[in-house]
C-alpha cells in the first residue's frame, strides 16, 4: 500500500513539472501571437489613416487644415500621430506632401502624396 502511494505521488510530481514546463512554453507562444496581432492591427490602422489623409489632401488640393480637422475627429485613442510635411520640389502645377504615421512615437508608415495645383486662370 505504501509503495503504491509513493508511486502515485511520484507520478503527480512529475506530471506537475511537465505541465508547468509546457504551460510556460505555451504561454510564451500566446504572448508572441498577441504581440504579432497587435503589430498587424497597428499597421492596418496606420495604413487607413495615411490613406484617408492622402485622399483628403488630394481632394482639397493640399488643404492641410482639412486633414487636421479630419484627424482630430478620428484619432480617438491618442496613440497614433500623423505628420504632414509639404515637399517643395519646384515642379510647377504640382503639390506634394509626405504623410508619416506614428504609433506611440514610433514611425509605422510613410507615404508621398501628389495633387494638382489649380491655376488662377483655369
Amino acid at each position: 500500500m505504501k509503495s503504491k502511494s509513493v508511486l502515485i505521488m511520484l507520478e503527480l510530481l512529475i506530471m506537475i513539472f511537465v505541465f508547468l514546463f509546457i504551460s510556460a512554453v505555451c504561454f510564451r507562444v500566446f504572448v508572441a501571437s498577441d504581440r504579432i496581432s497587435h503589430e498587424s492591427s497597428v499597421r492596418d490602422g496606420a495604413v487607413i489613416l495615411a490613406q484617408n489623409a492622402g485622399e483628403i489632401l488630394k481632394a482639397t488640393n493640399g488643404n492641410i487644415s482639412a486633414v487636421n480637422e479630419y484627424l482630430s475627429k478620428n484619432i480617438q485613442n491618442g496613440k497614433y500621430g500623423v505628420k504632414i510635411a509639404e515637399i517643395d520640389d519646384s515642379q510647377t502645377l504640382l503639390g506634394k506632401a509626405r504623410i508619416t504615421v506614428n504609433y506611440e512615437n514610433d514611425e509605422v508608415l510613410s507615404l508621398t502624396v501628389c495633387w494638382q495645383e489649380v491655376q488662377e486662370n483655369e
Binding site: E11, S33, R43, D44, V47, C114
Partner: protein
Amino acid sequence: MNNKKAVAVVVGAPSLLVIFSVLCLLIFSIISLNTANAGKRLSILSAQSTLSYYQADARANELLAMIRSGNIPDGVTERDGIYSFSCEISDVLDLSVEVSVSENGGYKILKWQSIRSNSWKADDSIDVWDGES
C-alpha cells in the same frame, strides 16, 4: 470490525489528465500563432500594395503636371487632345490614366484606373464539364 473505506486511486490518471491538457494547450497555441502570422502577412501585403499605389499615383500626378505645363514627357501618347499614359503599381497592376488638357492648363480626368498589366488567362488545366453532355 474494520470500517475503513478503501479510496480507489488509479495509477496513471494524472498522466492522462496532464497529457490531455498539454495537448489542448499546444494545439491552441499553435493555431493562435498561425492565425497571427497569417494576419501579419496580410497586413504587410496590404501596406505594400497601398504604398505601391500611392507611388504610382504620385508619378501619374507628376506626369499630368508636366503635360499641363506644356512638356510632354516620354511614355505619354496624345490623340485628339486626350493624353494617355500608365504607371506601374506592381508586376501585375498598372495605373492607367487618360486626361484631356486645355490650353490654359485646365484638365479633365477621363480615366484614372488600376488595370491588370498582363492579360488574364483562364486555368484550363482541369477538364471540367462544360454544361453539354
